[in-house]
């Protein structure tokens, strides 16, 4: 790879916005658009001009908002204010103008303690969840599986990116699932790596395929779905899914899907399909024996 390719790649990575930033931007723009706007009658034009000038002055002189990065491999404590304490291992950032702390949490575990009845309005955001707090202690953990909220005491309101929402009291927990296909793929991988049941992995893969997905992500989800169906012994569905997959022009994981389709065909004693799919001498011999 030459320096220019390195430079292009590095620049793209640098300018690529994070999911969190995009989600935050979309929410903020939507909130601005939903705010009622004053009418524009000409008789108010002078007043409006004065207002704009005053607003511009106030904007220019507004209090500085503090943005602090949170990044630690081991548990670290941060006192945001007299009433808000964070303990975290992972990464995110906290923004505060004094009265309304906002924490954007990207990855890892964040433990929050808020003094009750002190009027603190604290919001924790992850790409999948928004958690609003009045006075409580709880934990937000974000990993490939999604964002999990566990409440120790008090009450928190949780809103997931997929529309689910609820109030959690002490001892309750809730997990917001990824809202993007790539996130669902990561969840399926994490479930499989963690030894979850194939049926649970299949649920995540199917959920990912129902979301908008780029071609490589869709191909990966589909290929893993075929493998999972095969592992569950659902050979009819696996064969149909593999046949549909192989009819497309996707190249990523094609060899793996072909091998899976061959194995499934052999298990179903579909010798003609196995013969057609055989790519190696061993497979051809197995298929020929099946035909005999």
């Amino acid at each position: 790879m030459n320096n220019y390719e390195d430079a292009k790649s590095a620049a793209r990575e640098r300018f690529e916005p994070s999911e969190l930033a995009v989600a935050r931007l979309s929410r903020r723009a939507a909130a601005t658009l939903d705010r009622p706007r004053p009418s524009r009658r000409p008789m108010y034009a002078g007043f409006a001009a004065l207002s704009v000038a005053a607003a511009a002055l106030l904007f220019a002189l507004r209090p500085t908002v503090t943005v602090s990065a949170l990044a630690a491999d081991t548990a670290t404590t941060m006192q945001v204010s007299d009433d808000v304490a964070l303990s975290y291992a992972g990464r995110g950032e906290v923004t505060t103008d004094g009265a309304h702390p906002r924490v954007s949490w990207e990855l890892g575990t964040l433990d929050v303690e808020v003094t009750p009845n002190r009027g603190v309005d604290l919001v924790i955001e992850t790409p999948e969840a928004t958690v609003r707090v009045i006075g409580t202690g709880f934990t937000v953990a974000r990993d490939a599986l999604g964002s999990a909220v566990d409440v120790r005491h008090g009450i928190v309101a949780v809103r997931c990116g997929d529309g689910r929402e609820g109030q959690l009291t002490a001892g309750q927990s809730m997990t917001c699932l990824p809202v993007r296909a790539a996130g669902m793929l990561a969840r399926a991988k994490a479930l499989a790596a963690g030894g979850a049941a194939d049926a649970d992995v299949l649920v995540a893969l199917d959920a990912g395929l129902r979301l908008d997905a780029s071609p490589p992500v869709r191909a990966e989800l589909s290929a893993r779905r075929i493998r999972t169906l095969s592992a569950l012994g659902r050979d009819e569905e696996a064969a149909a899914a593999a046949s549909a997959w192989l009819a497309g022009d996707e190249t990523i994981r094609r060899a793996e899907v072909e091998d899976l389709a061959f194995a499934v065909a052999m298990r179903r004693a579909d010798c003609a399909t196995a013969t057609r799919l055989a790519k190696t001498e061993a497979q051809a011999a197995t298929a020929a024996a099946c035909e005999r």
């Binding site: 320096n3 601005t32 990065a69 990044a71 995110g92």
Partner: protein, 200 residues
Amino acid sequence: MHCLRVTPPLPTPALLDAAGSGDADARQQLFRDWAPVVLRWCKSLGGPKVDAEDAAHDVLVTALTRLPTLREAARFDAWMFGITRRVLTGHRRTAWVRGWIPGFTPDVPDSAEGPNARIERNQTGARVQAILERLPEDHREILVLCDLEERSDEAAAALLGVAVGTAKSRLRRARERFQILAERSGLAADNAPAALGGGR
């Protein structure tokens, strides 16, 4: 390579009509597709004093407010790019004015980015950004559109509202200038072709 690697499909007229009429789902769809593009433009084109997320917010709000004035849905991307340019110009001006207000603390330019970006893990990316910020605006635009976003000369010309020949010559000059600055900064001292995209 001539492909729109990072650009979503153009919205349909029906989607634009719905979003312009205040349909929340249509608006979300537009945000989902275009907020990343606009934010990327603001980060790469805004310069060191502009808060990219603030600027992107203003672009999206302006675009959604003015959707009824969009005449051709097929030119939605060029229309968005035009709004982005105007908003960035305004933000640069505001940043300049604020710099003259005694006692005013300028915004941290990276406040819109995650902590990863602030930690400067990628020195090469930071140096490329610094070089881009030293280029004239028209050179920065053409390099971002053609070399980073891999648009064809024709597509970039359409976004910029210039003739294809103008875009080509501007790209050539921008690459030459980038090359000079890159060599001075030691970024590209041992390589030949002329810019980020080099060999098209």
